[in-house]
Amino acid sequence: MKRVYVNEQWCLGCHLCEYYCAYANSGQESMVKALKDKTIRARIKVEEKDGISFAVNCRHCTEPLCVKSCIAGALTQKDGLIVIDQDKCVGCFSCIMACPYGALMPNEEGVMQKCELCTTNSHMLPVCVSGCPNKAIVFEER
């Protein structure tokens, strides 16, 4: 399965992936409308320290601890992709407890959100990848 991989050697810490992610999942047509005067909640997070930076999002594990820990059955694995049914999620944070990458986080309503490789928004291909100015984030089969 194609996944998003990051290479810290090329990450510039520009945080554009976070903004493109927040925009892509906002449902808004314009980035300005989606993000102006808002605190963004991206499904990808850039860690940075002492000149090193890299982005972290869902690894779409083959043995997903989040899915196995979800008390609501809201997280499922579909053809390798880990998706969340936000309608079913009650915000118990069990997945936060389980995920070894820290890749799940609550949205404004306290319901969990996660990277679904942009398959569930209108962008189809991961925008963090297309928006990365330095190919530090790639979408490929490994």
Binding site: R3, Y5, V6, N7, E8, E47, E48, K49, I52, F54, V56, R59, H60, C61, T62, L65, C66, K68, S69, I71, A72, G73, T76, D87, K88, V90, G91, C92, F93, S94, C95, I96, M97, A98, C99, P100, Y101, G102, L104, M105, G110, R142
Partner: protein, 410 residues
């Protein structure tokens, strides 16, 4: 191959899903005493809180049983196991033959002897969907609810019904709430939150006798109530295995392949005692992730794919009115404490590995990174422990390990 699963909750689903990864042909029969397909039991408090619905609580999609070719026998109970002929006798008189059997019978509410309890008309337990439905029918704006037990079940129940009743009083024999998962400071913090949200606690006390609409406590205090909820604790359902001569202690004993001492009989979930990964002691670790993973490993082994589950450990994620608590492992060893605006973080280190943590309030983000340190017994000398203590970051791992996590990991 005939697979039979007694119990139709999370461990059962884990078992079905893993059997089908290995064996697409064998028959799977699930016997469940409830009349519902598998649903998310821990969500019953959210149901009363209107945060979910019965429809949404269904644990897997509608096609789950059909697409996995599972025969469902609902509303039935297995009475005995005949280990010689490999048959189960059900309460309707029928028998079911098995080649591999999983016992995933969970637990039942423990009700301690209390004087005059039988006279209480509106008395409920809070374990399953029917309990929740029954309780819901009794709820009224004017109700005064008395909950016995300040553990996870009692308090989640309290949260679920708070907006639908007049008052809630929680009585517990212990001197603090949630003693099984929290330290004293945490208990106090959560107690304060719940008190602020309108609950009344009477701790270090118990009911001496029930009267009509009043409960007399050991301390002499009297609590008026309309509805009584008993949430003192649970007991594993072990009788099937016990009566068939399988080894049991407080719960059914299983090994790392989730096998009982009876050949071809496996057990998983809240009815089991497994070895705690952190303490190496036998324990009932009645939490959902363990149930799923034990069911999954049992299923693999039942289908002939030898697999081990040796990472059972205590962990809990729970929240009340927006105050979230995540805990894992044990609270022993050297500790690091960080206090924040809305909570705190305590990390426990033994022999150079993280063995437990308590996170409350704004410290819970990315908690799984800590959990993974416990689960992987990561040598803390190989990473920047000061940094990761401050905040759970992958940055704290060595460059090579980071590259592995971000580049190769699946």
């Amino acid at each position: 191959m005939k697979y039979v699963i007694v119990g139709n909750s999370i461990a059962s689903v884990g078992c079905i899903e893993s059997i089908r990864k290995v064996d697409k042909e064998g028959s799977i029969c699930v016997i469940g005493d409830e009349k519902y397909p598998c649903y998310a039991r821990p969500l019953i408090s959210y149901l009363l809180q209107s945060k979910t619905t019965v429809e949404k609580m269904v644990y897997r999609d509608k096609a789950f049983y059909e697409s996995n070719a599972v025969t469902l026998l609902l509303g039935k109970r297995a009475k005995t196991i005949d280990r010689e002929t490999k048959h189960l006798a059900l309460d309707d008189g029928s028998t079911v033959a098995y080649d591999k059997l999983l016992i995933a019978t969970g637990s039942y509410p423990f009700i301690p002897p209390m004087k005059n309890l039988e006279s209480v008309k509106k008395c409920f337990t809070f374990m399953n969907l029917d309990d929740a439905k029954n309780l819901e029918k009794a709820l009224a704006k004017e109700s005064r609810v008395l909950i016995i037990g300040a553990g996870l079940i009692g308090l989640k129940c309290a949260e679920g019904i708070r907006d639908r009743v007049k008052s809630i009083t929680v009585v517990d024999l212990a001197s603090r709430i949630l003693p099984s998962i929290l330290d004293e400071a945490g208990s106090a913090l959560v107690e304060k939150k719940l008190t602020d949200e309108g609950l009344t606690f009477i701790l270090h006390d118990s009911v001496r006798e029930f009267f009509n609409g009043d409960a007399l406590l050991s301390s002499g205090a009297v609590v008026g109530y309309d509805i009584l909820v008993l949430a003192v604790g649970v007991r594993p359902n072990i009788s099937l295995v016990n009566e068939a001569g399988g080894e049991v202690n407080r719960a059914i004993l299983i090994d790392e392949k989730c096998q009982t001492s009876i050949p071809d009989v496996y057990a998983a979930g809240d009815c089991c005692e497994s070895i705690d990964y952190v303490t190496k002691e036998r324990k009932v670790l009645a939490i959902l992730p363990n149930a799923y993973m034990q069911g999954e490993v049992a299923g693999r082994n039942m289908a002939g794919d030898e697999t081990f589950f040796d990472k059972a450990m205590a962990m809990n994620a729970i929240g009340f009115f927006g105050l979230h608590v995540i805990t894992a492992g044990i609270y022993e060893g050297q500790e690091k404490l960080f206090t924040t605006e809305t909570g705190y973080k305590r990390l426990f280190v033994q022999d150079g590995t993280l063995v437990g943590y308590i996170l409350i309030g704004d410290t819970i983000n990315r908690a799984g990174i800590y959990t993974s340190l416990i689960r992987n017994k990561t040598d803390l000398g190989t990473l920047d422990f000061d940094l990761i203590s401050e905040e759970p970051l992958l940055m704290a791992f060595a460059k090579k390990e980071r590259a592995h996590k971000l580049g190769d990991a699946q």
